[in-house]
């Protein structure tokens, strides 16, 4: 493997024991993936604030003790605690303190206290073409697909090693040759006026994630989205049910102005048709209960709600009251919370019966008042993970408007054409 002078100086311990450890681990990782060298990165996003046992904290505290310091702007993914509203998290000691300590240990390394799974909707958003090292599957796919920044699927330990050295292995999606689309998903059999609903984007993401395998998918025939949050929802579910790290949507995402560009001017290895039947099937897979089922909560904001999404939600809350026994949660990042507060909107949302959750997410830690009920969500990712993580009795996926109508009615209400 070719190592730069800087890489060698890290290995020689010239930047301290933590940087040396990080570079040693990075070189071993690079060797395992067959990378011939490392390359410079401009930012990192670290998914290290969720506890997987004592090793999570031991690792970060080892780096802190070794005088570790991040060398590029580094955002942090969600943790298991809401440090802004700690009373919301139903976690006992010592897990509670351990969760907080893990989040704080990362700050001692110079990471930003972003605690969000949507770092691409903060001031740390990368630009087109930037080489970055990001963890968190939905952030990875958004950065690659929607922005055109370049990252592989980094995670556990390695994302932080990249941050501490400013280097990443030169392989995979960092390189032009591996970014071209390989399998074509073509929407067929729909009316020309196919509406750009959230359900459409989530269903397409589910199908692409299930069927793309390790290949880069190209999607042809999507209507123009109403905003990037629909692409965020598509990528999040695709990266949850599968291993998608990059997709191209023809005419929509930056590396796919045309189908030929998306495919790198080659033939696709396979073409898969998506018709109305496939969409219905994908959506059915995201709900375990039928319309009319009583619910105990609605959870929005997976990935973290953007300001634009709040501006879509707020008009729906005019005259809204949740049905007795039904909670309405919205998970979001601190930066969005600050923007809401500056406009006085946080109080207005709380008065309307919304519980705002920051720094964490309702499917990774115990926030929901009842973990044994049926919950409705507008997130394909939440619908995929929450039943298993939390032990819910059931989950129902639906449009944002249907989620609010359901919270008011106390049961699953559906108006979606799918």
């Amino acid at each position: 493997m070719h190592l730069s002078d800087l890489d060698r100086s890290f290995l020689a311990g010239e930047a301290g024991p933590a940087a040396r450890f990080a570079m040693e681990l990075l070189v071993r990782f690079a060797a395992a993936v067959g990378a011939p060298a490392l390359l410079d990165i401009t930012r990192a996003h670290v998914d290290g604030c969720l506890h997987h046992g004592a090793v999570s904290l031991d690792f970060v505290e080892h780096l802190v003790a070794g005088r570790g310091r991040v060398r590029v702007p580094t955002t942090l993914n969600v943790g298991s605690m809401d440090l802004i509203h700690p009373e919301l998290v139903r976690m006992e000691e010592p897990a509670r303190s351990a969760g907080r300590r893990l989040m704080e240990a990362h700050l001692a390394l110079g990471c930003e206290p972003s605690f969000t799974c949507a770092p691409y909707q903060t001031r740390f958003r990368p630009r087109f073409g930037e080489q970055i090292a990001w963890g968190e599957s939905n952030a990875i796919v958004f950065a690659n697909a929607v922005i055109g920044a370049r990252t592989n699927r980094y995670g556990d330990f390695i994302d932080l090693c990249c941050a501490l050295t400013g280097r990443a292995p030169a392989f995979g999606l960092h390189l032009d040759a591996n970014r071209r689309g390989e399998v074509l998903f073509r929407l067929e059999g729909f009316p020309a006026s196919l509406a750009a609903t959230d359900s459409l984007f989530v269903a397409v993401g589910h199908i692409v994630g299930t069927r793309a395998g390790g290949r880069v998918p190209v999607i042809e025939g999507l209507p123009p989205p109403h905003g990037e949050d629909q692409l965020k929802a598509l990528g999040a579910v695709a990266a949850s049910v599968g291993a998608v790290a990059l997709f191209h949507a023809v005419g929509i995402t930056p590396e796919a102005p045309t189908l030929a560009d998306a495919l790198g001017h080659r033939r696709p290895a396979a073409t898969i048709a998506i018709g109305p039947a496939e969409l219905r099937q994908a959506l059915a897979a995201l709900s375990t209960v039928p319309a009319g089922t009583p619910i105990t909560a609605v959870s929005l904001g997976t990935p973290h709600f953007s300001l634009a999404e709040f501006h879509r939600l707020i008009p729906l809350l005019a005259g809204f009251r949740p049905a007795p026994g039904v909670e309405l949660y919205v998970s979001t990042g601190r930066e969005t919370l600050v923007a809401l507060a500056a406009a006085g909107l946080d109080r207005a949302l709380e008065r309307a019966g919304v519980t705002l959750v920051a720094d964490t997410c309702t499917y990774v830690t115990a926030v929901l008042r009842r973990l044994d009920g049926v919950v409705m969500t507008n997130s394909g990712k939440w619908a995929h993970y929450a039943p298993g993580n939390l032990g819910l009795a059931g989950v129902a996926f639906g449009e944002l408007e249907d989620c609010i109508a359901s919270a008011a009615a106390g049961r699953v209400v559906r108006s979606s054409p799918w």
């Binding site: 090793v55 999570s56 963890g135």
Partner: protein
């Protein structure tokens, strides 16, 4: 004794009974690090303990959180004694490397070209020095007749 050439992903020495998985296992969601047992209900080995065994599988699978789960299992003493793969897997390697560094507990991870000589029920010894080729010696007989595997020594 059959001896196989291997590549070191994480160094160490280990000896144990072989446990061969035909289906790759994701440690995250698939292994309970408090017990060392397979907990993925869709996996054919669900319920079996990996603790102290030489785990043989073609590749790793799934979430990068598998690194943490493996490292935590090594810390707790519930992990496999060593792991043999057919394809290099950075996520498995990183889990073992982190545990080795933090706790000085080795779980060698090596890659061999052909897993066929590694049969369930046999025993093996992995010798995987840092920065040098690794070796797997099949130390115990299996119920199977001897195969004409290419021996490397």
């Amino acid at each position: 004794m059959v001896s196989l050439a291997a590549r070191t992903l994480a160094e160490g020495e280990a000896q144990g009974r072989l446990l061969v998985l035909d289906t790759p296992l994701s440690f995250w969601g698939g292994l309970d690090p408090t017990t060392g047992r397979v907990i993925d209900r869709s996996h054919p080995a669900c319920g079996r303990s990996l603790a102290g065994r030489i785990l043989v599988m073609a590749s790793g699978r799934g979430s990068s959180s598998s690194s943490s789960v493996l490292a935590e299992a090594i810390r707790r003493g519930t992990a496999p004694a060593g792991i043999v793969l057919a394809e290099p897997d950075p996520i498995v390697a990183v889990g073992a490397l982190v545990a080795h560094r933090l706790y000085r507990l080795a779980c060698p991870v090596v890659v061999v070209a052909d897993l066929a000589p590694l049969r369930e029920g046999g025993t093996a010894r992995i010798t995987a020095p840092a920065g040098a080729p690794a070796r797997i010696e099949l130390t115990g007989s299996t119920d199977e007749p001897e195969r004409s595997s290419p021996a490397v020594s």
